[in-house]
Symmetry: C2
Subunit: 254 residues, 2 copies
DNA sequence: GCTCGCGGTCGACAATGTCGAACCTGATCG
DNA sequence: CGATCAGGTTCGACATTGTCGACCGCGAGC
């Protein structure tokens, strides 16, 4: 593959860098992180600023992401077929299960949340769309890992960061779980991501069988799991049903 | 200003182009729109694809925005001070007024919605964050225009697109309204953007007086306006109060 | 089966972005 | 109060880098 454009890749790397830490970053920090001379980094930043992908704090001189990205991000959502076709089923699942619903897909070694429905009775809403969740500690992530051999391999090669006492941290244990996910057709997790929280998820497939995303519910452990701390079969059924419904919705239509 | 990086500007233009029409665009269409040779456009697109800013439909070969942009967009929101400092006051305003609340700022000749609170009693509403609204037909936009001379001048020079029978379409009429906004300190609009809908907005300022955004409510005409089809004074008061509160919140703190 | 339109490829050319040293400004500190 | 430092910014020579347009291969439609 000839000629990936250097400056654009560098610009993208900068935006990614600025997205991490969600704070303000200085030029020196940026140029050091990417191993670029200050002058070069400055030129790229100034260009990104011109197109409003980046803003600069007038007083401190530090850089942060720009407003144009917000619009691009939501434009992506509008065009995203997985999301648009799954919204109705996500609502249905939320109503049926009484739990919060998320739809995720793989992005860059994590789960990108492309849709989020709050728990029906809950008002306090932290909007989760656009958030990135760990692959190895969420039900959504396990589903994505289970059906993507490459992704699974690279993930196990990397450090499995421990988020709670229950997080799976050894590659072997993760692989064992993924085998189970594949045979069952769904994944679950209890307090591996956040204490007191559990989740269940199932794969969304395009015609041909390729898994392109996952849909799942999450909530307090005692809502998701039965007394033996295993996922309640009725909820598993709901999630699987919704996943199949979305997959079918992706099959039909343009 | 020396050396805005050509390829990055072109890449940004492509992303903007893809964001419009929220559909799939072909290579030929893109290269024609930007006046670039196909080969060049292709190189840029392939690079954007590598960094997941762009995706390509496997079957049709057409291009669309990529998932990475969603994450960047929400990261922008996290870092946005205007938004984070105004969330609480937006909730308060929604509760007080009983109406839907939006916070907007200027982006690229339009109003970018950076925060959105649904009407308290209403559940089914479409999420408006990241949306772009016209400057001349919304209360939020009028506020931004009123306090930005440059923006106001360029906007009046462009076509004022008519959205309803009531939309202001002549530069002179718009200027008259903006003068009024400046003297009153708030703006309103009734059925100029959408039939049956009205809105009220007031400016958010940073220390020094510069207007950086606007906060406003919107809803059915009969909720916003009194029988003389003028904005209800109580609501105007609520909005102004909230705007001042947010401005103060921006002053204090880091 | 020919042609058109589409996305994709290739290689020569020089315009383009890169680089590093030097500059400026404001804050910090002896 | 001057020196020093750390930040962002500017500049110009160099050659790397992206650009360009002609050329493929393929599928759809006449």
């Amino acid at each position: 593959m000839p000629g990936p454009i250097q400056s654009i890749e560098r610009a993208a790397a900068m935006l990614r860098l600025l997205a991490r830490g969600s704070g303000h970053h200085g030029l020196a920090e940026i140029s050091a992180s990417l191993g670029l001379p200050k002058g070069t980094a400055h030129g790229i930043l100034r260009t990104l600023q011109r197109v409003e992908f980046v803003e600069q704090d007038q007083t401190t001189g530090r850089y942060r992401l720009g407003a144009a990205l917000l619009h691009l991000g939501t434009s992506y959502l509008d065009a995203n077929e997985l999301r648009s076709r799954s919204i109705n089923w996500a609502d249905t699942l939320a109503a049926r299960s009484g739990q919060e619903v998320r739809i995720g897909m793989h992005l860059d070694g994590a789960v990108l949340v492309v849709h989020h429905v709050f728990r029906p009775d809950d008002t306090m809403q932290t909007l989760g769309i656009g958030a990135m969740l760990p692959l190895h500690a969420t039900a959504l992530g396990k589903v994505l890992l289970a059906y993507d051999a490459d992704l699974s391999a690279t993930t196990r090669r990397r450090e499995l960061t421990s988020l709670t006492r229950r997080t799976i941290v050894t590659p072997a244990a993760l692989e064992r779980v993924l085998v189970q996910v594949r045979t069952r057709g769904w994944a679950s997790e209890a307090e591996e991501f956040m204490p007191g929280e559990a989740s269940i998820a199932a794969p969304i497939r395009v015609p041909g069988g390729l898994v392109v995303g996952a849909i799942g519910i999450s909530g307090a452990v005692d809502r998701i799991c039965d007394s033996a701390s295993r996922p309640k079969p009725a909820l598993v059924e709901d999630v699987s049903f919704a996943a199949d419904a979305v997959s079918r919705a992706l099959t039909t239509g343009s």
